[in-house]
Every structure is written in structure tokens, then in C-alpha cells.
């Protein structure tokens, strides 16, 4: 039985201003109806380009070559543009990453859906509309009929993605390609969308390709997996086999550098892959992973490496035999076992170094040009203590107010209610200078947190200059010292940010934050914008620096795995309020608040075959401008009581180190 989609030895060459670039080389895979193929890889791995090549959506001047590129009976390689256009939206459907911008803002949902059906089939408008309503209901959208006359901007991100899926199903495709379908969505919605895709696949018997950088997503959803690196498939096979017994050093390294909840020793370093993902403009002569591989041999540098068969459907691209790869604990910079000792060194009895007391921040927001300003409670009655040495993680999905809270604690945003105390003093009363010596910050986006017109040296030296610390020579010496400490070459001093990679830039940001020897560092999503293989490097660095310099961290993140790895205490926020606070271990082993439970359940670890957890949270994350009455979570909570609709619960203790705000738990409160 031949597979539905067959790709054999596909290569894609792009035409650039400075010459040609081979984005994808010798890629092969097959997918059949009812099967899910997961393609996983970091940025620059060529995964998106491969899928666009199948659809024929690459820009003019791109050359696609392959031994076979076939969908059913159709040879995609030799098909004319007209034939390809007949297949798109018809036999092959593609779902993109950004539901916000992938729908046309000036046309109604109904029109965008029906036009797709009427393009490929001659049906009446009424028939198309009926089918649209049908599909909208199938993807779980309520009030389907009324949605047809709505515009995209009136729907939330999760709903828009459902609309995209429904839209692409209008013509009963045989193959669905989903390129990062959940990356732009909140974690709790992610599980729902993935479940939806799987259910649809079963019902309609389609072939599904899921492309993602998130190993967890791919592991849970796929039947077979292809790991891509630098434009090639480096490992492929059934998902169980590949993930439980990876053969390629890159796959092994990836799996080791992902913090897996429940398996990490707190405080221990993660395995990481040194170096950077190579630019695809490089002309590769041999194994593309060789310069980062700790098992590199002479044989690796000799020439291009072909796929080797490892049996049971698994293949990998490496010169080493399965035997040599299986021995030894791991193939890469070994994860150091943690001694679990991060818990010590924290003096819970001393007065807090950073405090929020009933802090709140309400913005006045204008919605559109017609209405007057409405209040938006970004942060509502937050009380929080940070003690020296702690790593407190504040988690929550977008819109929960954690970034606003971070800005308030940093002194960049004035609270409209309550106080922020830094070392016992109100932040508002401290001068900029005093405040910045005590608390510093590392921001999320390494591409925008460094001034593109200043050199690395100037950037790191700037705090010293502003505070008048030492002479120029002394400042220079300090900069050199800290650059070395964070792992930056001294020669970078005169380079500009655009010449450094994301990981290197984040190190610069860390150096800048630490050069004044602050007590507290606020890390706002410090690794979210980085490739997975680099994330581990940065997290390890942060842990080391904390131990050496006696730092206290406030970590803002949505990534629960990172939290379990490095946090000592966790604060869970929902719509501007704290819903649960607990020591890390306790929170992960025994979450009590329904939202926390849902959040943890939604985290997708790379456990093959575990399936996607079904997290039924009903409607979308509420808009902070129109918060639900009483407990903000009640519309989505399966345990909601009558009182939840009326009265907002208060944060109370379940035990000395565990607080929660929930009416249901009140009877257990101390």
C-alpha cells in the first residue's frame, strides 16, 4: 500500500541577492491517511520551507528538486501552477501559525469560508453556508450561524484558529499541514486545539503533518517523527522508538536539554548543546552537526553523511553505529546532578528584600476610536514577598498581568494602588540610582533589549558609567571580567548586537544586569525567544550566577518546565490576581486551585504516546477589560459554586508554604 504523500530526497534552493542558498537538502518522509507525521526542529532547520515546497507556495525563483514528490496520483514536482492551485485548499489544506493575521480583516468569516468552497466546487451560496455552519460546530464554536457575519477581529486567538481549521476543511482535504498551529496560543488553549486536530483526523481519516519546534507537542500528537537540523532530516522513525532511544546526537541533546517536569533534580544543570545553529548560507561539506557534537570523529568531517537504517523504521544521519552511540550516559555536556540544595541558603525568617503590598495597577484604555476610556485592571490586590536567595516564578497566561507586575516591581510602572517595597523602602521614594543598584532586569527579546547603535562594551559598561563607579580603566576591567563570566569572548567588546546570536545577546543582557552587583534580578521570559538548544545554556548560567553572587530571582514565565527546574517557589496568576502560591515541589505534586491544575495538565512533555490531555476549560481567557464577576475563573471552572459568581475569593493558607484563593478550598484553610 503506497502512502498518500511521498517525499523522497527533496531539496529546495532559494535565490538570494548574494547567490543561492540550499534551504533543504535530501529530505524524505511519507504520510498516509489516518497517520500523523511530526516534523520537529529549531529555527532555520528548514521545516517550514519543506511544507511550503509541498504546497508549491515558495516565492518565484525557488528551485525544488526531488526524486519523488507525490500526493496520491499527482506528481507535485511536474504539476503546473494551475494544477497546484486546484489542489490547494482542496486536497491539501494548510493551517498557519498566526491566527491573528492569517484571516483577511475586511471580509466576514462567512465570506472567507464560503469563497473557498465555491472556488473549487460549483455549489450554491446556500450550500456553502450550510457547510460552513456545520464545520464551525464541528470545531466546537458556539452560535455558529451568527459567526458567519462576524469579522476576524471580533474573535479571540483560539477561536480564530478554530475558524482557520474549519475553513480549511470546507473541501474535505486528504492532507492537512499544520505549521506551528498552537505556538501563538495560550497553553490551555493549545491542548484543546491539538485534541481537535486529532479528533478530526480520526473522523475524517486525513493525513496530518504537524510542524513544531516544541518537542512536547510533536511527541504527544504524532505517530511518526522527523527531526530536522540545518536543512536536513537527521533522524526519523516511529515516535516511541525515536524518543525513547534516540540515535542521533542532536536528537539526544535536544531531549536532554528540555527540562522534563518530574525528572529533573532541582538546581541541577541541564544537558545542553554548545554552540549555535549554523547559518544555512554555509556551504556544508560534511556532517552539519559536527561542530557542536561532542562525539565528533574524523570520519564526520569527510563528506556528506547519508541516512543509516537502525531497524524498526528508524533512520538517522550519523557515521557512528548504534552501538557506539548507545554506550555512555549521554552524548553531550552531561547534565550535572543537582544536590537539591537550592532550598537551603534561603533565609525565610529574615525580612523580605522585595515586597508588593496590595499592589494594583489599573490602566485607562480606549477601545477603538468611538468609545471612551474604560478601566483595565492589569494587576489587582497583589501581595507578594521575596526573600533573599529565593527564585520565585510568577506564571500565568497572556493577559494575567505578570509583565505589568514585573514592571511595577522594577519601578518602571507606578502602581495605582498599594505599595512596592524594596529592602524595606517604598520604591516610589527611591531615586533611580538607588533603585537600580538593588534590582535589575533581564528582558525577553534579545533582539530588542540591546541598543543596535551601541557596541557590546558600551552597553555593558553603561550602568557603571551612569553610576560613576571607578575610573574608565577600572570599568573596562569589570566589563571584561563579567563578560568572561557569562561566557562571552573578550573580542566581542567592540562588536554590535546585530553581529551576535540570540543566545549571545541574552548573555550580554545578563552581564549588563549583573555588573552593578544587584541583589534582585527580575527575569522576564529570559529564554522564550531562544532556540531550545540554547535555552538550557542560559538557564544553567543563571543558576550558577545565583549561587556565586547570592542573587534573588523573580522569574516571569509561562513555561512550566523551566519553572520546575529552577524555581523555589511558584506564584500562579489569573487575570491580575494571585490564585495560588506554593513551594515548587508542592505545587507540582499537589496543585489545589482548579486553574493551576488545568495549567499543569496542559503542559506537554515529550512523552511519546501519552496523547494530548483533555483540558476542558470551555470559553477563552477572558478579556481583562470585561472581567467576570466574583471569582474571575468561575466561567471556566468545573467546580464553580454559586458563591463563585458573586464574591471573589481571598488568598488564604492551606499550609505554611501553600496558599490558594478558592471558595471550594475554604473549608481546608488554616
Amino acid at each position: 500500500m503506497t502512502a498518500l504523500l511521498e517525499v523522497q530526497d527533496m531539496s529546495v534552493t532559494l535565490k538570494l541577492a548574494e547567490g543561492e542558498m540550499t534551504a533543504v537538502q535530501d529530505v524524505s518522509f511519507t504520510v498516509d491517511r489516518g497517520e500523523t507525521l511530526g516534523i520537529v526542529g529549531e529555527s532555520g532547520s528548514g521545516k517550514s520551507v519543506s511544507s511550503m515546497a509541498i504546497m508549491g507556495l515558495l516565492p518565484r525563483g525557488t528551485r525544488t528538486e526531488a526524486t519523488t514528490l507525490r500526493l496520491g496520483d499527482v506528481d507535485l514536482l511536474s504539476a503546473s501552477e494551475e494544477e497546484m492551485a486546484r489542489l490547494r485548499g482542496n486536497k491539501i489544506a494548510m493551517i498557519f501559525q498566526e491566527p491573528m493575521t492569517s484571516l483577511n480583516p475586511v471580509y466576514t468569516i462567512g465570506r472567507q469560508m464560503t469563497e473557498l468552497m465555491q472556488l473549487h466546487k460549483s455549489v450554491s451560496g446556500a450550500t456553502a453556508r450550510a457547510r460552513a455552519v456545520d464545520l464551525l460546530e464541528k470545531v466546537g464554536i458556539t452560535a455558529a450561524e451568527s459567526r458567519l457575519s462576524q469579522y476576524p477581529h471580533q474573535l479571540s486567538g483560539g477561536l480564530r484558529q478554530r475558524v482557520m481549521i474549519a475553513m480549511m476543511l470546507m473541501n474535505d482535504p486528504e492532507l492537512i499541514i499544520a505549521d506551528e498551529p498552537t505556538t501563538a496560543l495560550d497553553v490551555t488553549i493549545q491542548a484543546q486545539i491539538l485534541n481537535l486536530l486529532k479528533d478530526l483526523q480520526k473522523e475524517l481519516n486525513v493525513a496530518l503533518i504537524i510542524i513544531s519546534h516544541d518537542m512536547g507537542v510533536v511527541a504527544r500528537v504524532s505517530d511518526k517523527i522527523a527531526v530536522m537540523y540545518a536543512g536536513q532530516v537527521v533522524e526519523t522513525g516511529p515516535v516511541e522508538t525515536v524518543l525513547r532511544a534516540p540515535k542521533h546526537p542532536y536528537t539526544q541533546g535536544l531531549l536532554e536539554s528540555i527540562p522534563v517536569p518530574g525528572q529533573i533534580e532541582p538546581g541541577g544543570a541541564l544537558g545542553s548543546i554548545p554552540g549555535l545553529v549554523p547559518s544555512l548560507k554555509t556551504r556544508f561539506k560534511c556532517c552539519r552537526f559536527a561542530n557542536r557534537c561532542l562525539r565528533v570523529h574524523e570520519a564526520c568531517q569527510q563528506g556528506p553523511v547519508a541516512l543509516q537504517d537502525a531497524g524498526r523504521g528508524q533512520a538517522y544521519r550519523c557515521v557512528l553505529t548504534p552501538g557506539t552511540l548507545r554506550d555512555g550516559a549521554s552524548s553531550l555536556a552531561a547534565p550535572e546532578a543537582g544536590d537539591g540544595s537550592y532550598g537551603t541558603g534561603i533565609n525565610m525568617g529574615a525580612s523580605p528584600v522585595l515586597q508588593a503590598i496590595d499592589a494594583g495597577c489599573t490602566f485607562q484604555v480606549k477601545q477603538g476610536m468611538f468609545s471612551s476610556a474604560k478601566p483595565l485592571r492589569a494587576v489587582d490586590e497583589i501581595s507578594l514577598d521575596l526573600r533573599q536567595g529565593e527564585v520565585v516564578a510568577v506564571v500565568g497566561e497572556s493577559g494575567c498581568g505578570k509583565s505589568t507586575l514585573a514592571r511595577m516591581l522594577l519601578g518602571l510602572q507606578e502602581p495605582t494602588a498599594g505599595q512596592i517595597m524594596l529592602g524595606g523602602q517604598d520604591v516610589a521614594e527611591l531615586s533611580d540610582m538607588e533603585r537600580s543598584r538593588k534590582i535589575q532586569s533581564i528582558f525577553q527579546d534579545p533582539y530588542s533589549s540591546l541598543n543596535p547603535r551601541r557596541t557590546i562594551g558600551e552597553i555593558i559598561r553603561r550602568p557603571l558609567h551612569l553610576h560613576g563607579v571607578g575610573s574608565l580603566a577600572e570599568q573596562r576591567a569589570k566589563v571584561d571580567a563579567i563578560m568572561e563570566r557569562v561566557g562571552l569572548l573578550r573580542s566581542f567588546y567592540h562588536n554590535y548586537p546585530n553581529q551576535l546570536s540570540g543566545g549571545q545577546r541574552q548573555r550580554v543582557a545578563i552581564a549588563r544586569a549583573l555588573i552593578l552587583n544587584p541583589e534582585i534580578v527580575v527575569c522576564d521570559e529570559p529564554t522564550s525567544a531562544l532556540d531550545v538548544s540554547v535555552q538550557a545554556q542560559i538557564l544553567n548560567l543563571l543558576l550558577e550566577l545565583r549561587a556565586e553572587m547570592g542573587l534573588t530571582y523573580l522569574l516571569i514565565t509561562h513555561d512550566m518546565a523551566v519553572v520546575e527546574h529552577i524555581a523555589t517557589r511558584v506564584v500562579v496568576m489569573y487575570l491580575g490576581r494571585i490564585v495560588e502560591v506554593a513551594d515548587t515541589h508542592r505545587l507540582f505534586s499537589n496543585p489545589r486551585h482548579p486553574y493551576t491544575q488545568a495549567l499543569l495538565k496542559s503542559v506537554l512533555t515529550p512523552e511519546p504516546g501519552a496523547g494530548v490531555p483533555s483540558v476542558d476549560l470551555g470559553t477563552a481567557y477572558p478579556n481583562p477589560i470585561n472581567p467576570p464577576s466574583g471569582c474571575a475563573f468561575h466561567p471556566r471552572c468545573e467546580f464553580a459554586l454559586d458563591i463563585c459568581k458573586v464574591k471573589a475569593p481571598v488568598l488564604e493558607s492551606l499550609s505554611p508554604s501553600h496558599q490558594s484563593a478558592c471558595h471550594m478550598l475554604e473549608k481546608e484553610m488554616v
Binding site: L410, R437, S441, F443, P452, R453, G487, N498, Q504, N540
Partner: protein
């Protein structure tokens, strides 16, 4: 204590790209428009500054016995007057050369004045936002509504035409574009994380504006400057043509065209040449501005 990971990280790290300056130079080398524009503009500037050295005659000296001598390619010409003489016997080429002074002087001066006004308002409005921004936007709307050419004509004529008046009036009426660009950019940059970072390491507002934000604006401001300068040069020529700009006997290309209007059917070159000079200069300034925009445009990330 460094982990092996960090040590290996150092080894494997490489520089991926050129410094901003290197990139600029490389792009400039291959941008024809920029080179052409720069060449012409610099040449005109030199000619304007060193006019007495270039001009064969004094542009004001009249010789009524030698009126309307044709240029060298026509009959009855005189090699002493390469481009002939005008209706008052003044050397045409010299007047052309001195005309460059007026065009470049007024162009540069008015553009600078407009730049100072517009960039200041834009910076303040973009950085402070709120009411200040609303006030600045209101001011902008009013300025946009005014018919600037008409108003310039009236004001220059009423106050009394002179090069200084022209510079001031044209400068004060041409700050809108600077303000819009500066304001938009400042607002965008203000939202970037390195501004927040600057504040969290202790920079005050003034330091943020001048050390962090302004350097990122300079490229765009230069582009606007060149485009505005081109506009002002044309406006000055228009005003002088209509008789409300530079007054005789000063040489201005617009004025020269006006003076030639009565004779243009017979001696079209009198109209064509100064116009061609205007065209060339304005084209060069525009190409220069476009070239700077292209060269300094940020590359997309890898």
C-alpha cells in the same frame, strides 16, 4: 567555576555579521543612485561656496552693449561669454553659478530650520505622549491645513524679500514631515526593551532621549532632511519665478527663468538651462536621500 558547557560555548561561537559601519560602506559602494546623488550635490555645494573662483565674470556687472549674446553653440557667440548674456548684458554662466548659492543656501538653511523645529516637537511628543502628544498633533493638523506656498508668498512679499526672509519663512512652514517621522519613530523605539533596560539601569529621561533614542533616529532624519531640502529648493525657485522671492539683481534660477519668459519663444535655452540646473540639483538631492534610506535600511534578521 565554568561548566564545560560554557567553555564549549565560547569555542563554538562565531561572529555572524559585519559592524553597522562596514555594512553601510559596502552597501554604499554598490548603490549607484547614492553615488550619483552625492557626487552632484557635493559638486554643486563646492561650486556654490567657491562661486567667485568658478564664475568667469561678476554676475552683477551689466553691459548694455552686449545684450543677449547667444551661447557658444549658436551664431554670433563670443567665447568670453560661454553661455551668452542675458537681457542686461550680464554673463549668463556666472549668474547660473551664483544662482547655485541661492538655491543651496536657501535649501540648506530652511531645511535645517525646519529640522530643528520638527525634530524637537516630534521627540517631545513621541516620548512624553499623553496631552503633550495631543497638543503637538493638533499643532500639526493646523500646520497641514495651511496652504504653505500661498502663505510663504504673502509673508515673504509683505516682510520684504531677502535670502534670510526666505530661509526663515520656508523653514517655519516646513517642519511637518520631520515631526511626523520623528514622532512615529520615537514612539516605536520607546516601546522597545532597550529603552526599558536603560531606565532600569538608572538612566533619566534626558539620558534615554539623547543616548539611546536619538542615535537610532539620525538615519531617518537625514533622509527626511534631503527630501525636504529638495522641496524647499523648488519652492524658492517658484517664489522667485513669481517675483515674490529673491529680487533682482541677485541671481536665482527661478528669477532667471522669469526674466527669460518674455523671450522664451525665440530663445528657449534661456528657460531651459536654469530649469535643467534646478532639475539636476533636485534630482541629485532626492537620489541622495533615497540612497541614504536604502543604505541605512535595517536588514531582516537571519
Amino acid at each position: 567555576m565554568q561548566t564545560t558547557a560554557n567553555a564549549v560555548a565560547q569555542m563554538a561561537d562565531q561572529i555572524i555579521d559585519l559592524t553597522p559601519k562596514e555594512r553601510l560602506i559596502r552597501k554604499a559602494k554598490s548603490h549607484l543612485g547614492f553615488q550619483f546623488g552625492a557626487f552632484i550635490v557635493v559638486s554643486f555645494a563646492l561650486i556654490a561656496i567657491f562661486a567667485p573662483l568658478f564664475a568667469p565674470h561678476d554676475p552683477f556687472v551689466q553691459d548694455l552693449t552686449k545684450r543677449l549674446v547667444p551661447p557658444v553653440w549658436a551664431e554670433g557667440s563670443n567665447w568670453e561669454y560661454l553661455l551668452g548674456t542675458d537681457h542686461l548684458g550680464r554673463d549668463y554662466l556666472s549668474r547660473l553659478i551664483y544662482g547655485a548659492r541661492v538655491s543651496m543656501g536657501v535649501g540648506f538653511g530652511a531645511a535645517t530650520l525646519g529640522c530643528m523645529i520638527g525634530v524637537t516637537i516630534g521627540l517631545v511628543a513621541g516620548y512624553l505622549g499623553g496631552r503633550v502628544d495631543q497638543a503637538a498633533s493638533f499643532l500639526l493638523t493646523c500646520q497641514l491645513a495651511l496652504p504653505s506656498l500661498l502663505l510663504a508668498m504673502a509673508l515673504v512679499f509683505f516682510v520684504g524679500s531677502s535670502v534670510i526672509t526666505l530661509i526663515v519663512v520656508l523653514g517655519v512652514l516646513h517642519w511637518q514631515y520631520y515631526m511626523v517621522v520623528t514622532r512615529t519613530l520615537t514612539r516605536q523605539i520607546r516601546a522597545l526593551e532597550y529603552v526599558s533596560a536603560a531606565r532600569s539601569i538608572g538612566s533619566n529621561d534626558r539620558q534615554v532621549l539623547f543616548y539611546e533614542i536619538l542615535p537610532n533616529l539620525l538615519n531617518q532624519i537625514i533622509v527626511v532632511f534631503s527630501l525636504e531640502m529638495a522641496v524647499v529648493i523648488i519652492h524658492e525657485a517658484s517664489l522667485s519665478f513669481l517675483g515674490v522671492g529673491v529680487q533682482p539683481p541677485t541671481a536665482s534660477w527661478g528669477l532667471m527663468i522669469a526674466e527669460a519668459k518674455t523671450m522664451m519663444y525665440f530663445k528657449p535655452y534661456l528657460v531651459v538651462i536654469p530649469g535643467a540646473a534646478l532639475f539636476l540639483l533636485v534630482l541629485a538631492v532626492n537620489l541622495l536621500g533615497d540612497g541614504i534610506r536604502d543604505i541605512t535600511a535595517p536588514d531582516s534578521r537571519n
